[in-house]
């Protein structure tokens, strides 16, 4: 650590203490923060999943519904619909999700160029939020690498009904145990409104997002 760096750190912390320092019960103050907003959903499971699907439609995603025995069929249906043949499979995807007749490539530290040239990627997720149409991905050991869920132009994500909660706070509690892992929340495909506030879907992240919704 250089001398300059130490000085700046000390100087900043001292200035902060001069401004707001003093004895205080931090834990009690934090606990006293009002949290009267909705922290629990009230919808029946069926309605909750329907709301999630409706939000995905709004984002322009296609939703393929199936039972857990039919995941591979639903994946085949989605890939056929989108005319995708060579698909990268992220860590954590079971072989039972993969239909015959397509080329699946395991993500074995694939290069960015290889990911860029692929037709898309198949992943699972950690949690999902009905009210906002959000999918939460967890990364790190045994999970999809961030690059794999990002560079391919097409993302097909398998979401199980029991992973779908109604409100955002419920989802944050679901993933809290993984709070130190890289996390990505996805609410629809990448988009921009930077030119005259005209919404253009599909910029740098996958331009197309589809979901297999498993009951």
């Amino acid at each position: 650590m250089s001398a300059a760096k130490l000085d700046a750190r000390q100087e900043i912390l001292e200035r902060i203490r001069k401004a707001v320092g003093g004895a205080r019960d931090r834990a009690a103050e934090y606990a006293a923060i009002p949290r009267e907003y909705r922290r629990e959903g009230g919808m029946a499971p069926e309605a909750r999943v329907e709301l999630f699907a409706a939000r995905l439609y709004e984002y322009g995603a296609s939703v393929y519904r199936c039972t857990s025995a039919q995941i591979a069929d639903a994946v085949a249906q989605a890939l056929t619909q989108r005319r995708r043949t060579a698909i990268v499979v992220s860590h954590g995807v079971p072989a039972s999700w993969l239909p015959d007749g397509f080329e699946f490539v395991e993500d074995d530290a694939l290069s960015y160029a290889a990911l860029d040239q692929s037709n898309g990627v198949l992943t699972g997720c950690e949690a999902a939020v009905a009210f906002t149409g959000t999918i939460i991905l967890r990364h790190g050991a045994g999970q999809p690498r961030r690059a794999v869920t990002l560079v391919p132009d097409y993302h097909l994500c398998v979401v199980r009904a029991e992973q779908v909660v109604e409100t955002f706070p419920e989802a944050i509690r679901r993933v809290e145990e993984f709070r130190a892992a890289p996390l990505t929340t996805i609410s629809g495909p990448s988009a921009t409104s930077d030119i005259e506030m005209t919404r253009v879907k599909g910029v740098h992240g996958p331009r197309t997002l589809d979901v297999v919704l498993v009951r």
């Binding site: 200035r15 401004a19 961030r146 890289p182 988009a191 409104s193």
Partner: protein, 481 residues
């Protein structure tokens, strides 16, 4: 570029002209005003609709406000906790007292990486410290990757909004910039085509440039994590693909715990872009083996923030989460656009933040760039009472640095006159005679000499021929007779 027109906006508070003067180029440019009004109408309509559907909106604002206030009141503790946790996870934390220190730290890190190019996620803080021109002078090309930032960078334009910084530029202007700078003569002005051009232009840069710079929407003390909120995926590209990542963050960005995101992310997206949730939010902690950058640095910058913290009456300015809702609702911003504020922080939040970051030594016209209508407070997701702070800062401008002498003397004389009925009547008599040449339809539209400053932007009600007291006295006399 050297051929910039003389009206090129100056966004350096040290050099910018006062607000009323800086506002003139936009006020005189109907196309620019149309661009600004259209953009903020669209965002406002979206925001209003999505805030209305959120039945717990006020409760969320209350919590967000309390979380930010608590974080600021315990800033030393939470910053140290952030540093400890981030370091334990393989990150390196640097502290910069001012802009110059931050620039030097970043340059040293880039040199260590042998970087000649760097890709950047939109960060207001980097613009605040004027990082790009500094890196350019040091021989490092910094590529902005947010679509609006690309438009600004390639067009040699200045940001005019904190969320949609190119809102003052319309599609045909974007087409012209992209066609010229990307060499695409046949490009159409369809936003989809323009967006695609940007995607193609950046793709190889994302996949090959090994060094990136980001800002931070939130730093999480409990975990040492950084949160970046975005729409396009350029952020994810920059914070995922390069070998080394440098995050520049103001010290005020810290929030206590991971669970606080459930409040902050909900209020931010709706306020900023009128979406239920922004397309992408990335959270990461230090370095993750086999996933993302191998080298991660956070530069925590003060640059005047501790001075803001030191004033309890305006401290809440630092609670800002840069959603831009106050710009979109502001009747003044709507007319002037962002460049009038002489800083990258425009609108009501800029009017209170910039002068404070300058220790009230510059940008002293900004606290007056407001009608005090209070709309900014109503929409602020963290309930910053901007009108109160504006008044507090006006007071500081007057007290600490002196109001113009003539105005001060006039106000003092007026106070004396208003304090006594007799004196007021004598003054009214005098003014009735003096105002004669200037009154038209009961108002004074233009005063001579130094007084012209008062009537340049407003009419003055003329003193009527008869005051209420005179009328009353005459009436009493009539009754008696």
């Amino acid at each position: 570029m050297s051929n910039a027109p003389s009206t090129h906006p100056v966004l350096d508070p040290l050099l910018a002209p006062p607000f009323p003067q800086a506002a003139l180029p936009v006020l005189r440019n109907p196309q620019l005003r149309k661009n600004v009004a259209h953009a903020i109408d669209v965002i406002q309509a979206k925001r209003a609709k999505l805030v209305a559907e959120k039945t717990d909106w006020q409760e969320l604002r209350t919590s967000a406000s309390a979380i930010r206030a608590h974080a600021l009141e315990n800033l030393d503790f939470y910053l140290e906790q952030f540093e400890t946790r981030c370091t334990a996870a393989g990150g390196t934390v640097h502290w910069a007292a001012d802009a110059a220190e931050a620039r030097q730290i970043i340059l040293a890190l880039l040199r260590q990486e042998n970087a000649t190019e760097v890709i950047k996620i939109k960060t207001m803080t980097s613009a605040e410290i004027q990082l790009n021109p500094f890196l350019e002078a040091a021989g490092i090309n910094a590529y902005e990757t947010d679509l609006a930032e690309i438009i600004l960078q390639l067009g040699d334009e200045e940001p005019s909004h904190i969320v949609v910084p190119a809102l003052h530029i319309n599609r045909s202007q974007v087409r012209e910039i992209f066609a010229r700078r990307m060499g695409l003569e046949n490009l159409s002005d369809d936003p989809k085509a323009l967006t695609n051009a940007a995607r193609t232009w950046l793709r190889q840069k994302f996949l090959t440039i090994p060094t990136a710079i980001s800002g931070a929407n939130f730093l999480i003390a409990e975990t040492g994590s950084v949160a970046v909120v975005e729409s396009e995926g350029n952020g994810r590209m920059c914070l995922t693909l390069p070998r080394a990542l440098i995050t520049l963050a103001g010290i005020e960005k810290v929030i206590p715990r991971f669970q606080d995101l459930e409040v902050m992310l909900q209020v931010l997206a709706r306020s900023a872009t009128g979406e239920r949730m922004n397309p992408y939010t990335s959270l990461w902690t230090g370095v993750t083996p086999g996933d993302g950058p191998e080298e991660f640095h956070v530069v925590l910058i003060d640059n005047g923030r501790t001075g803001v913290l030191d004033d309890a009456e305006s401290r809440a300015t630092l609670a800002c989460i840069r959603c831009g809702a106050c710009l979109n609702i502001c009747p003044v911003y709507r007319q002037t656009g962002g460049h009038a504020y002489g800083s990258i922080y425009a609108g009501p939040i800029g009017a209170i933040l910039t002068p404070q970051l300058q220790a009230m030594k510059h940008s002293r016209s900004l606290p007056y760039a407001s009608t005090l209508c209070g709309a900014c407070y109503d929409v602020c997701p963290v309930k910053i009472d901007i009108p109160e702070i504006l008044i507090h800062l006006r007071n500081k401008v007057v007290k600490g640095h002196g109001a113009p002498m003539a105005e001060w003397m006039a106000m003092k004389a007026a106070a004396r006159a208003f304090a006594s009925g007799g004196r007021l009547q004598s003054a009214q008599k005098l003014v009735r005679i003096a105002q004669k040449p200037y009154v038209e339809d009961g108002v004074i539209g233009r005063l001579p000499g130094m007084l012209a400053n008062w009537t340049r932007f407003r009419d003055l009600a003329a003193v009527p021929a008869e005051s209420f007291r005179q009328w009353w006295a005459a009436r009493q006399r009539k009754e008696i007779s």
